[in-house]
Structure formats: C-alpha cells, structure tokens
Amino acid sequence: MGPRASSAGERSDSLVESHKGYDPRIILFYFLLAALLAVLAGGLAYRQLANVGKYADAERQQNQRRVLFPGPRGNIYDRNGQLLVGNNHRFAVLLHLDELKTELIAEQSRIRRNFVAAVDKKDVPGSSQLRQIARVTLVQRYLDQVNQILGRDEKVNAAELGRHFDRQLLLPYTLVDDLSGGDFARLIESLPVRSPLEVYASNIRQYPFNGAAAHTLGYVRPDSEVEADGFPGEDLTTFKMKGTSGRDGLEKMFDAQLQGEAGGRIYRVDPTGFKINPPLESRSPKQGKHLVTSLDIDLQLVAEQAIGDQIGAAIAIDVPTGEVLVLASMPNYNLNDWYPRMLPETYRKIQERGAEFNYAVNGRFPPGSTYKILTSIAGLRAGVLKPDESIIYCDSVLRRFNGRFVCYNGREHHQEILLPEAIAQSCDIYYYEAGWRTTPERLAAESRRFHLDVPTGIEVPERGKSIIPDPEWKLRERGEKWFPGDTANMSIGQGFVWVSPLQMACFTASVARNEVYTQPTLLHDPDRPRQRHEAIGLTPDQRKALLDGMEGCVTHGTAKTINAIAELRIPGVNILGKTGTAQIPGKRNVAWFIAFAPRENPQIAMAVALEGDTPGEEYGGGRNAAPIAAAVMKRFFEKRANPGRTIIAPVRSE
C-alpha cells in the first residue's frame, strides 16, 4: 500500500461515525435540554399546583350557574290570630327553556332546510335569525299544546322570549299566567309528565279583608334583588327569580322579618349555557317570619264602616300598653288591586279619591276644641285655673285687645262657668281667657311635654310635620309678632296648631293613664307590661274636674248625641270625651272627637278626625265624629264582656 492508498483508507474511516464515551460538546446540550425541561416542569407545576385554585375558580365560574328563588313572605295577623295578610297561589304554565337544546337544534336545521328548498340560497337567514325563528316556533308549538287544552289563543311575544333566552336561560319562561282551578286541573291531566312544560304555583300577596287597614298593612311590589345569605357561589353568574319587597305600611317597615329565606341551586352548564342535571348544590326556600299586629280587625272594620264614605281617620289605643287596636284611614283602597299588577285605570281612580293618603298617621289638622283638654291641664298646672273658680263671664262675645272674640259654641250664653262645664260645653270664651292667663309659651311647653310636636314613632311610615307654635316659632317661621289673638286661637286648638289624629289618640291615652306620654305600637305582645311615664302632675281635685268635664261632654255636653242614641249607648260604661270642630279658613271643617273609657281603669282611648265635604260646611265633632268612636267602643266592650274568640269572615272579592 502506497501513501496514496493509505490516505484514502483514512478518509474512508473518517466517514463512519463512531461514538466513544462522552463527547464534551454534547454535554452542553444535555444541560440545555435539562434546563428547558425544568422550565417546562416548573411552568407546569406553577400552573397545576400553585395556581390550582385560580384555575379551578375560573373553570367553576365558566361552567357553573347559580339560580336563586325567593322564599314566601311571612303572614301578618291581627291580635286575635285573624289572618290579615297571607300568601295566595297563582297557577301558571312554565316552559323550561334549558331542556329544549336538542329540539332547538333540530328545529333550526328543519327551518334552514325549508328555506333552502323554498328560496334562493343567498336569501336564507343568518344563523342568529334562524336561531330566533326556531326559538319562537318551538315555544309557540308548546304554547299551542296549552292553548288546545285550555281553549285559548295565546301567542308568544318574540322580543320578550329573545330577551329571556339571552339573559335568563336557566329560569323557566312563563307561557300562560293566572290560571283558574279548572285550568290547573285540565293541564295536570293532559300535559305529559315528562314534558318541559310545568304547572307552577307562584306566590302573590293576599289580603282577605281587601281594603281594611290598607294604609297600615301596606303592599309589596316585585323586586329582583333576591339575596341568599349563606348559600355558596356568590361569585358565579346568578339568575334570580323575582321576589317582592314591601313598599308601604307594615310590609315596608318589617320587610326584613317578613322576607323569606331564598332558596337556590347551582348547576353545571354546557358551553351553550344549557344546564346539566342534577344540581351541584340545592337549598329549599323558607317562609319569612310571621307578624302579629296589635290591630283588632273586628274593631277596624267597625271603624271603617262607621266612617263610610267620609274622609278621615279613627284610631283606638289600648290604654295600658299603647297597642294600637284600630288605625283606620278613609278612603282606603283594595290592596288586592296590586296583584298581579295594578291597572293604570284603577290607580288613577285611587289617586283621584286621595285613597293613598294615610290620614290617621300623616294627616295634619288643627285639633280644634279637643285641644282644650291640653289648655286645661296647662292652666291647672300653672295655677291660673282652679276647678271651683270661674275666670270669666261668657256672653257669647268677648271684647278684648281691641278685638272681638266669639264663643262659637255659645249659641246659648254660658255666663259664669266652671272648668268642668267649660269642657263639657266647650266654651271658647273661657278658654280664650285661660289661654291668655296661661301664656302661649306654657301652652307650647305643655304640648311638647305631651310629645305633640314630634313623630309618634309608630311602626308605619310617618310623614308630615306637626306644629306647636309659640311667639318664637312665629317670628322664626313667619317673621311676625305674636298677638293675643294667636293665643286665643291656640287655646282652642285653632290657628297654627297642627297635629295628626294619631298624636291626638296618643294624647288621649296619656290623659287616661294620667301620664304625659304614650308610645304607640302596632306589634302585639300578650305579655306587654303597662306603659309607665311621667305623671301629668295634677292634684286629685284638678284631675277630678278635668274628668268630670270630659264625662259631662258625653252625658249632657257637646257629645251628648252618643248618649242619646240607644244603639250607641254602652250599658255600664262611662265614656269620657271631648269634641272639636276645627275651622280651616277657605278649607273644609274638621270634626274631632277624642275619648277614653271607662273612667276607672281606662282600657281604650280613641281619636276620630273627619274632614267635611265642602268648605264652610257645618261639620261637628259631636254629631259626626263622636258616633264613630262610640260604635268602636261599644264593640270593644261587647267583646270584653264576651271574651270568646270571634272569627271574622274575610271579605270575598268579587
């Protein structure tokens, strides 16, 4: 072999790859590969271990939906257990849209095929249009099933259905509402059990006594803000079935207690939003707490019927406890008109009649001569009035301070008159003099002592502002000086004094207990203790004179009507009262009557205020207001005499 051959053989050898041990150059790649694998493993570990919670949450939020449905509201009862507000059912047919996925796909394909066969391909609607057509067609087909059973001709509202599909797919869609019992029965027997159609009973508020105590009980309106405390999945997309919330009266003030505990379900859903059964979480709704009011529906009905077509209010209070037995405001309206929805025409009529206004709590009127009880107390406490001392001669007209002051109740001259008779006969001239002697500051202070200047704190919305004037108030509010005429007006409950019927009822209950304050309440507690507040501070003689006057008012005074009419007389019970007729210049008169009974150990106190029909009309407390109080009191004492439970038949809606 020559050198040439040798070199060729070496070259030939070099063409054959051979690996001997470790090649130092490749070690570098080992490290590089290991590093890359480590990065991958680290990334994987980071995502799968460190971020597991985050991704699990994201997956959960993407794949799970929460549905909340409200619990039924609690009932409201009167003090004797009579149902005042309850829940009633309303049958409806629901369609579970989320069970229609397969049918929708098939329907969409069928419609598309029909279009392709019937029109040019370019005229075939887009997929979103096809989807909407399929939805309406399919839902109308189910609705036609119902129509055929019920003999109706209902049509699907396409826009509403589209919104429901897009926003509330997991909630059933209401096809037909407000079914009768017969419709319910027909559907139960005719609908296939395994149909996506469901006969459902929704919950509406029911008022067995229609408009009785309407302003006190209040009403509810639909509310989508259903909350399910303690139910998991707050971070999930949530669908809420509509609940209700109180908008007036006790329904509003005790909304939190009456609200039921919402139930809920959490479903897993597929990518198109259709649910996958069974639910992952489920909780049944619970009914809200019941409310037992202090109202006595029997007395309430008596008061409302006695007021009848007149405008005004009647309040009765249980004297020892302050529990309100009657809180009547007329005109009222049928609370059932709110359900399922208030018709505009009905609401317009309610507004025209002023029936929404709560005269008992929010009405403000001059108290008229009923205020003379307060003037008497203020004068007696100030020492300017004495039970056995006449302070002025009533000649029906008094000329004083360059003015002429008329005794409006003095068609007969009262002449020399003592306090009891001044109350019984409601002598204005006596009280003009009493007011001047007492001074407006003392009258105002006494009024404030009886809490006539502040809201009563009763458990229904209390609007409006009472006025207890004094010289400082007049200067501040009107920029005018106080005149003796203002004092005269104030002493007989006219002029600037404005209070609510409820405040006067509380005042009467306070006088009955010989105290200065009564906290009214609409909640009944059979073990509620007697209220105890600051005593009025009259001597026994002074109190006797005051009560004699109030008794005289009923026996022979301005409220003798109720003693004269046999139907209003209560055997064995002395009613103590005071009438009032407030004249509002340019407006209608307000007839007042405040009363309590019996004289010893008083049990019931009342205030009645009625607005006259026409301005300037003769509308008197004794003639118009007193009989209403007497009717309620009579029923009250009849029930006391026969304590067996009286069940009042609810009013049937026509």
Binding site: G181, F184, E189, S190, G263
Partner: protein, 276 residues
C-alpha cells in the same frame, strides 16, 4: 389469519350494522315495526291469558258443591245490594238531570262502559301497566280512563287491534287532578316510585294548607272531574301523610293506593260517548 380475525369480530360488526340500520330507518317505519311486533305477539298474550282463565275454570270445578252453594248465596246477596244501588243511582241521575234542567247546567260527560279482562301485568321500576283484552275492536280510545271496583286503575296509553295498554296510577307517568273528598279545590296526584312487590303509593301536591291529615284522620282522595278525563268522585287512594311545602302555599304528601291494583283481573274502560 385475517379470516379468523373477521370471524371473531363478526358479532360486533353485525351489532354495529343493526345499530346503524336502526338509526337510519325513518321513524314512521320504526313505529310501524313496533306496532306490527305488538300485533304479532298479541295472540300469544291473549292465548296465555285465556289458558290462565281455563286453568282458573278447572280449578273452580274442583271446588265442593257446598263451597259453590255458599259462593252462589254470597253472590246473590251482592247482586241484590247492587240492584239496590243501581236503583238509587237511577234516582240520583234523574235528580241530577232535573237540577241540570232547572239550573241550566251543562251535563256531565257521559261514558260507555267496556268491561275487559286483564291479559298481562307488567310491574317494574320503569313502568306499571297492564294489557287488557280489548282494543280498537271495541272502540277503546287512547286516554280513556280505566276503573275497577276500588276506584281508578289508570289511563289507556296504547290501543291495538285486540288489546290495549293501560298505564296504572301507580306509575310515575300518570297525573290526575284530584280533590280531597268533600272539598272542591283541585290538587295534583301522581304515581310514586313503586318497586315490584311493595305496597303501591302515590304522591299528592298542591294540597291546600287547611287540609289536615294525621295518622288517625286520613283523607280520601277522589277525582275532581275538572280535568276533563276522569269523571268526578272516583277513588284514587287515601292521603295518609302531608307536610308543608317550602313555598308556604301548599302541602305535599303520600297517598296509599289500593293493593288490589297489583292483582287486577277485570277492569272497566270508560269510553266517552261520542268518541269512536
């Protein structure tokens, strides 16, 4: 080797082909096939039923004359009581007709009664039904109510030439609008989950809250007549337990059904008059 492998897989291939064919066959053909299959097997069912009747007949032939005389006497008594009931019913029907005339009320739906023997009973967790020995040949329509001496049996769900299938009220697929005896408010009755040998029960929903049911005061549940399928007053069962529902509006509870539903031999189909 490939042939051997194919032989091994032939059953699976056949199954796949059959499944594919089933998927591709139009629904109408499937329905026709199913109905044809039922009509083809119906004579077997009827024959078995008649053989069973013959068996019962010969079993009765073995009874002593004394037993037969006693049975005849009991039957005579039963007949006389039924005759009395029939007369009373006639009087009541006349009174109803008179009142309908006076008050101008629409008449109740009238029914023709078709008595039928039970050919077969199928009780399982999936369905609770019976096959009766009358079908289109006696003008029985789908949906007709079926009753027996104890009350409601169920509804006709399928009608064939000489047989019909009746879904029992023990089945979950049957719903009836009922009322508590003496009440007028309709509620919903549905068959419950009834295992084969367990006493039959149903569930009742939409029970008004003032309906009180206790262990000592069960309430009889009858058909309401409002649903348009069942005439009023037929016994569905006895409500033995109710509890308030979560909606606060109604109660729901359990209905005990007649145990004889599991051993029916004779039923009556109520065919609305005017229907074929």
């Amino acid at each position: 080797m490939p042939f051997k492998r194919f032989d091994q897989n032939r059953p699976f291939l056949t199954l796949a082909l059959v499944a594919l064919a089933w998927l591709l066959i139009p629904t109408a053909v499937k329905s026709w096939g199913r109905a044809s299959f039922f009509e083809l097997t119906a004579p077997v069912t009827l024959a078995v039923s008649r053989v069973r009747d013959l068996q019962d007949f010969w079993a009765l032939r073995l009874r002593s004359k004394t037993e037969l005389i006693e049975a005849g006497r009991d039957l005579a008594r039963l007949n006389s009581s039924y005759e009395l009931a029939v007369q009373q019913n006639l009087e009541l029907q006349a009174e109803i007709a008179r009142l309908e005339g006076v008050l101008r009320l629409p008449s109740y739906t009238e029914y023709r009664y078709e008595h039928a023997r039970v050919a077969r009973r199928d009780f399982s967790g999936w369905w609770q039904r019976i096959v009766i020995r009358k079908g289109r040949n006696f003008g029985i329509p789908v949906g007709a109510p079926v009753v027996f001496t104890g009350g409601v049996v169920g509804r006709v769900t399928e009608v064939h030439a000489t047989t019909s299938i009746v879904e029992l009220i023990t089945s979950q697929t049957v719903k009836v609008a009922g009322v508590v005896e003496g009440d007028t408010r309709p509620l919903s009755f549905q068959g419950g989950v009834n295992p084969t040998f367990a006493p039959p029960t149903g569930i009742v929903e939409f029970v008004p809250l003032d309906i009180i049911v206790g262990p000592n005061s069960p309430k009889r549940l009858v058909t309401s007549g409002f649903g348009g399928v069942f005439p009023p007053g037929l016994t569905l069962g006895t409500i033995v337990r109710v509890e308030p529902g979560s909606d606060g509006l109604f109660k729901s509870g359990t209905v005990r059904l007649d145990e004889r539903l599991g051993s029916l031999t004779e039923v009556t189909v109520l065919v609305p008059v005017g229907q074929p």
